[in-house]
């Protein structure tokens, strides 16, 4: 069967499955809608968390980023997994014991303050919308390439599907669709990786193939890769260019951000017991690790395959580069999307792909008769194009498309749910209209989810940057605002209302301001970014991706300073803290 019909078939079948599950698991009350009735088994919750967690950024962009960044890409691998250790050791069991519906609700009770709740809701909404914009772009990319529909139409279809199961099923519907989505996405991710690993090294396990010798030679994949990328003027694959402090800060910001993301935290409200919350975090990371240990192998193999395709002969020889007229068919299809572009600068009809930004390599390039890099490849396409580059059968390519959509939709749904819960439960029921009935609250939650989907779709048309980068900002904001507030709330009894609010506001404003100043986020219409985004201008040499760490430290320092200069929290609050530290109910 032809690729397009196969893709329609697989993506369509997966949609039918998700909607079917949503109808089966629809929510009957607010407990179902917000926390799936606290009845999800730890393994199912682990899978749902993994799907919720692994977004379009993880599925589509991450391996591509690593392919081009090499060692520097490790920040994403460690950052987006190590945060689960923080979550499991510092937050999940205690928040489960607390046993309410939302993250702002915890902040409100622990800090006995409606104002703290509103600050937490604002943090949550900024984080979640920043993050969801990236998901919508991911859906758009997959649809425009594989279903050959307009990006707008692709977005509409994606929004429609999410709408059906998020609005109807709430947390319960989302949880069980996410279990299905996890299975689709992990299968779609690992199958091509295994195929390519066998082709390249003869070893079927990508995690091992990554460190194996290339089939028929005695040179390891990574050594060969180091060798060919440096011969084209690029930086060595296995060593980095980022400064040590920046790598350190980005990794820490991503870890703390992971632990502070509301849509992840809330997943641990859905399991029956504290013990389940602890184990469930382990299952979640186990399921995530399957993809996250495969991704660096995919990245290295994709980079190798790409360069081997473009540079089949000896570097610098006249016929060493691929002739444009002999380009493979995947090249053609991706060129049409504008994500691969070729410009024959030296008019030799061949594709020269090298690092023309490297001054040390310029003389060598000139001596080869090269007049600049002629090919640009969007990093986001590496995973999607990888099976085509490796010449795998059509059904594998169609499967990857279905997997990409599953990853984007599952994360978008999780985010939209926490946004709607923050509005209906925290703002409407918690503060502005405390007298509404449960049915009215459920309706408000559904309306809020619907509105959030429309806003997310709108943001998806004009997202501020590539998928993984946009997502990195959400992490910085979470690391600097919610994570410290919850952590201190559990571990330091003395932190009071004034300290927590001052800390969150400081962390959020500082981090947001720094990112807006250097990268531009929501104020592009007013001329942002204003600062040159280069290492010399950064504070302590920390990039906007890593600045959440400083925001987090500021938050903690301010929270302590303000708390200790004001009255301690009332005794019943101290009792709440004692209560959540012990698993058994009193």
């Amino acid at each position: 069967m032809e690729l397009k019909s196969l893709t329609y078939l697989l993506v369509g079948a997966s949609f039918a499955l998700y909607i079917g599950i949503a109808i089966w698991a629809r929510a009957h009350n607010t407990r179902d809608f917000y926390i799936a009735g606290k009845s999800v088994s730890p393994i199912a919750n682990g899978m749902a968390t993994a799907a919720d967690w692994m977004s379009a950024a993880s599925f589509i962009s991450m391996a591509g980023l690593i392919a081009f960044l090499g060692y520097d890409g490790s920040v994403y691998l460690m950052g987006w997994t190590g945060g689960y250790v923080l979550l499991a050791l510092f937050l999940a069991p205690y928040l489960r014991k607390f046993g309410k519906f939302t993250v702002p609700e915890f902040i409100a009770e622990r800090y006995y303050s409606g104002a703290a709740r509103i600050v937490a809701v604002i943090c949550l909404i900024v984080i979640s919308f920043t993050y969801v914009a990236g998901q919508m772009r991911g859906v758009g990319i997959v649809f425009s390439r594989f279903l050959e529909v307009d990006v707008t139409v692709g977005l509409m279809i994606g929004m429609g599907v999410v709408f059906t199961y998020a609005v109807l099923g709430g947390m319960k519907g989302i949880t069980y669709t996410q279990v299905a989505q996890y299975c689709v996405l992990i299968f779609a991710y690992t199958v091509p990786a295994i195929f390519i690993a066998i082709q390249l090294t003869g070893n079927a396990i990508p995690q091992l193939a990554f460190g194996s010798e290339i089939a028929g030679t005695d040179v390891s994949l990574l050594d060969k890769l180091d060798d060919i990328v440096t011969s084209l003027g690029f930086n060595q694959y296995t060593s980095g260019t980022k400064s040590r402090i920046d790598v350190f800060c980005i990794t820490l910001a991503l870890m703390a951000g992971t632990a502070g993301l509301p849509h992840v935290i809330v997943r641990f409200f859905t399991v029956p017991t504290v013990r389940d919350a602890r184990t469930s975090a382990g299952y979640a990371l186990l399921f995530i690790a399957i993809l996250y240990t495969t991704a660096p192998a995919v990245g290295a193999m994709a980079r190798y395959n790409l360069i081997e395709t473009l540079q089949p002969g000896v570097v610098g020889s006249v016929d060493g580069n691929l002739s444009y007229s002999e380009r493979p068919s995947w090249f053609d299809t991706w060129e049409k999307t504008g994500l691969v572009t070729f410009n024959d600068k030296n008019n030799d009809g061949r594709i020269q792909y090298y690092n023309d930004k490297n001054p040390a390599f310029a003389a060598t390039a000139t001596s080869y008769g090269w007049a600049g890099n002629e090919l640009s490849v969007d990093r986001d396409i590496m995973v999607l194009a990888n099976p085509e580059i490796a010449g795998l059968p059509n059904w594998v390519i169609a499967l990857v498309a279905a997997g990409g959509v599953a990853a984007a939709l599952s994360t978008a749904a999780g985010l939209l749910l926490v946004i709607s819960a923050a509005i209906s439960h925290d703002l409407i029921k918690g503060i502005f209209a405390q007298g509404i009935s449960e049915r009215q609250e459920l309706l408000a939650g559904r309306i809020a989810a619907a509105v959030a989907i429309l806003v997310a779709g709108y943001l998806g048309f004009d997202p501020p940057g590539w998928v993984a980068q946009v997502v990195a900002f959400a992490f910085g904001l979470a690391a600097a605002s919610l994570f410290p507030a919850i952590l201190l709330g559990i571990f330091v009894k003395r932190i009071n209302k004034q300290g927590a609010i001052a800390g969150m506001v400081t962390g959020l404003l500082f981090t947001y301001g720094y990112i807006e100043y250097f990268k531009g986020l929501f104020l592009k219409w007013a001329g942002s970014p204003w600062g040159g985004n280069v290492a010399e201008q950064w504070l302590f040499g920390i990039s906007p991706e890593g600045i959440g760490v400083i925001g987090m430290l500021l938050n903690i320092v301010v929270a302590f300073a303000v708390s200790y200069s004001t009255a301690p929290p009332p005794s019943h609050i101290q009792e709440i803290v004692e209560h959540i530290r012990i698993p058994r109910s009193a």
């Binding site: 060692y71 069991p93 194996s212 390891s220 790598v247 184990t279």
Partner: protein
């Protein structure tokens, strides 16, 4: 339960957390970032060891740590008689 017992449980928890965090830090920030150049002189198969920790090893350690913590805590809950059901 007595306040002393409660405090002892919490101290034991904090000690376990501290031990796990030390391992967490060592394998990611230590082996994967701060000591990466030194460890890259050691090779395991086709991998340089520092690079392997940054892109593979640290993740395996994270998974192990969470299950280890959950197992120890669930045991500790029983010992201090604070377990559920």
């Amino acid at each position: 339960m007595t306040p002393e017992n409660r405090a002892a449980y919490w101290r034991a928890n904090l000690r376990l957390v501290a031990a796990c965090m030390a391992a967490w830090f060592l394998c990611s920030y230590g082996f994967g970032i701060l000591l990466v150049d030194q460890l890259n002189n050691i090779r395991i198969g086709g991998f340089q060891l520092g690079f392997w920790f940054a892109q593979q090893g640290s993740i395996y350690v994270f998974v192990f740590l969470i299950f280890f913590y959950a197992w120890r805590m669930n045991k500790m809950d029983r010992k201090y008689d604070v377990h559920e059901d």
